[in-house]
Symmetry: C2
Subunit: 411 residues, 2 copies
């Protein structure tokens, strides 16, 4: 008998019929002999409706009031699911974030969880009652309602699982697991049975929208086994764990889990900067001070006294970053600033990659074979990322998927 936290998102709670379907799934888990604590989001579209209503009153209103309003979406859905469970003969009790209590700081609309009181929920479990907890929300020390920001229900689920020392946190969503890459780009994409937290973080940060990054970090930190499953299609989903899978592969092999990509970035290059210590800081300092996040940074070894310095930022920040960079470049007496927003980033993600130089060359060779020029390269322990022209993105993903045999389970 395990203690399982199940989190159902807005799509899973999107209608009365779907809420009844969720109740059936919870009941089935209980019939398997497990204790269940459920976390739910607001019915799909409801949070947007509420925020739109609030903004129609005041476009930039006090975030305390925005949270007070937005939190009602989950308060309705916990009540509805508790009723649906009751109708099935399963005793249930709904809890808002404040009622649990899920204590947060008071950073409205992006609050962080400080601690969770688990006693009441554990007592319910002991008494055979299923607690249904509102995701996305908490309460600060003064009793004000806070929200955790978009996708925060995943974080609530993981945090609850950690506080309850649950055996598994199951995130139910509208996809049936984590795939080797986006199936809309590569129809041969394959569902992974398991993936490590680190790999999942890379996949998520690179545009794989299955889980909120913060919830994966949280799960990794508190060692909560996390499973992504579909609400609508039965199946084992993908387990996200600390341990690497070793089934069916030699320990010597590097394992490629998948291919992540995004089109969210833009590239800035400062040409002909004097190659001397402190140049990177001189360029990136003002960018950081403007609260612009920098992703990839590349600086080549200088062939003469000058060098070229390239970095990428989110496209939303591109105009501001461009202005700042031009000012800095002038001060540094650089030759020129070049920019490109028609770029895409493609990454191979997998454990043990760095130690296998062969992987990088196999990647570059596959791309070259299709005439795709690589503009930037960056590597980490578990990924190799390249920047290419965005028109080649889909081709690059399919080419790499094939080159690394990701469509078959043993690669």
């Amino acid at each position: 008998m395990a203690l399982i936290v199940q989190k159902y998102g807005g799509t899973s709670m999107g209608s009365i019929e779907r809420i009844e379907h969720v109740a059936a799934k919870v009941a089935a888990t209980r019939e398997q002999g497990h204790r269940v604590v459920v976390v739910v989001s607001a019915m799909s579209g409801e949070t947007d409706r509420l925020l739109k209503l609030a903004k129609s009153v005041h476009p930039r209103g006090n975030p305390r009031e925005m949270d007070q309003i937005a939190a009602t979406g989950e308060q309705v859905s916990i009540g509805l699911l508790a009723l649906a469970l009751e109708k099935r003969g399963v005793q249930a009790r709904s809890y808002t974030g404040a009622q649990v209590a899920i204590r947060t700081d008071n950073a409205y609309s992006k609050a962080r969880i400080k601690d969770i009181k688990a006693e009441r929920l554990l007592a319910d479990c002991q008494a055979g009652i299923v607690p249904v907890v509102a995701g996305f929300q908490g309460v600060d020390d003064s009793g004000n309602v806070t929200t955790l920001g978009r996708g925060g229900s995943d974080t609530t689920g993981v945090a609850l699982a950690a506080a309850l020392k649950a055996d598994e946190c199951q995130i139910y969503t509208d996809v049936d697991g984590v795939y080797t890459t986006d199936p809309r780009v590569e129809p041969q994409a394959r569902r992974l049975d398991r993936i490590t937290f680190e790999e999942m973080l890379e996949m998520a940060s690179l545009g794989s929208k299955v889980l909120q990054i913060r919830s994966v970090e949280f799960a990794g930190k508190y060692k909560v086994p996390l499973r992504v499953l579909s609400t609508f299609v039965d199946g084992p989903g993908t387990l996200i764990t600390l341990e690497e899978s070793t089934a069916g592969e030699s320990m010597e092999d590097a394992r490629i889990s998948g291919i992540a990509f995004n089109r969210d970035e833009a590239q800035l290059t400062v040409l002909g900067v004097p190659d001397r210590p402190g140049i990177a800081a001189a360029i990136l300092g003002p960018i950081g001070e403007a609260n612009i996040e920098v992703d990839m940074i590349v600086q080549n070894v200088a062939p003469d006294a000058t060098t070229d310095f390239t970095f990428t930022v989110h496209r939303n920040d591109f105009d501001r970053a461009h202005d700042i960079t031009k000012t800095v470049a002038a001060e540094l007496h650089a030759k020129d600033v070049r920019s490109a927003s028609d770029i895409a980033k493609v990454s191979l993600v997998g454990v043990g990659m760095r130690s296998h130089a062969g992987i990088a060359s196999r990647m570059f060779k596959a791309l070259a074979g299709d005439g795709i020029n690589i503009q930037m390269i960056s590597t980490s322990e578990i990924k190799i990322s390249v920047v290419i022209q965005d028109k080649y993105l889909e081709l690059a993903v399919r080419t790499l998927h094939k080159a690394f045999n990701l469509e078959s389970a043993a690669c």
Copy 2:
């Protein structure tokens, strides 16, 4: 500088424009130098929408969950009004029932207020902040959300005014005060400047739907001056107080405040019951045990050894009451049971009425003059009620309104 509690109902909060209008009224009261605490209902239709949603999941679900869901209506409207006030430059802060805290028993859907913590609201007032409190809801000792039942926002307003020792509780609604009778029946009906709590209770219990009865009782008990005003039309409204108005009238005069009426009752008569002690209890005992409320009771002096016993019940309870009465009548060897549901009750309401026998005869004479037969009569300190055939109701109201000169201020 007074401390005023203003309560705005669902119609007043029915749209973004109306919420902004409420904000303007609150701001205007502040500009007059007063401190204001606001209580609001859910936007009109919202509570019904939420309960319908809940019932579509479970028609007779756990009332705890129904309250959890229903309470979100006010949580949204307090947030919206706080934002609308902020946009006008008025500092405001929203509070759910739990956040105040408004402590109740745990009788879900019809909870009673036990006590209210006033400190936080008073501190806000001191700091120039307008607290915006959710009506209709509270919290029990275990932190569960409760609701006070339909119209409970009026009760919240009055209870808050009592706890804050406010100078006045203003109930804003869609009518501009309490009238001598329903203007839809008698176009000459006149708005009353003031009325006593007792008169208001009679008016309210007799179908004048301006205020929830419980809130009037509450206001009377805690001596909170209560004022009914229109959200949409400026004016002084009607003040409901402990003291009787004496302006413009001799202290010897009885004062008729108005004419109340309803069509909600049905009549049962047990004919030819033996006239002996305990008969009333024998008939009404089983009715009371079936939780049916009895309104008027009339038993005539018996001309022989038997008497006729008549009483009225709410029409919703008529069928059940009829069955019970027939059983009891048989046991008592009564001659027959007669019933009528085509009846109406009309009442003259006013202070000091009993001591003025002339009023009753003037009333009966006026009705007789129009050929209206009186079936039952009952009197109290501040009202005289008669039961007539319901087809004469409108005529009776207009006749009495004229007979007592209620269209002119001094009667």
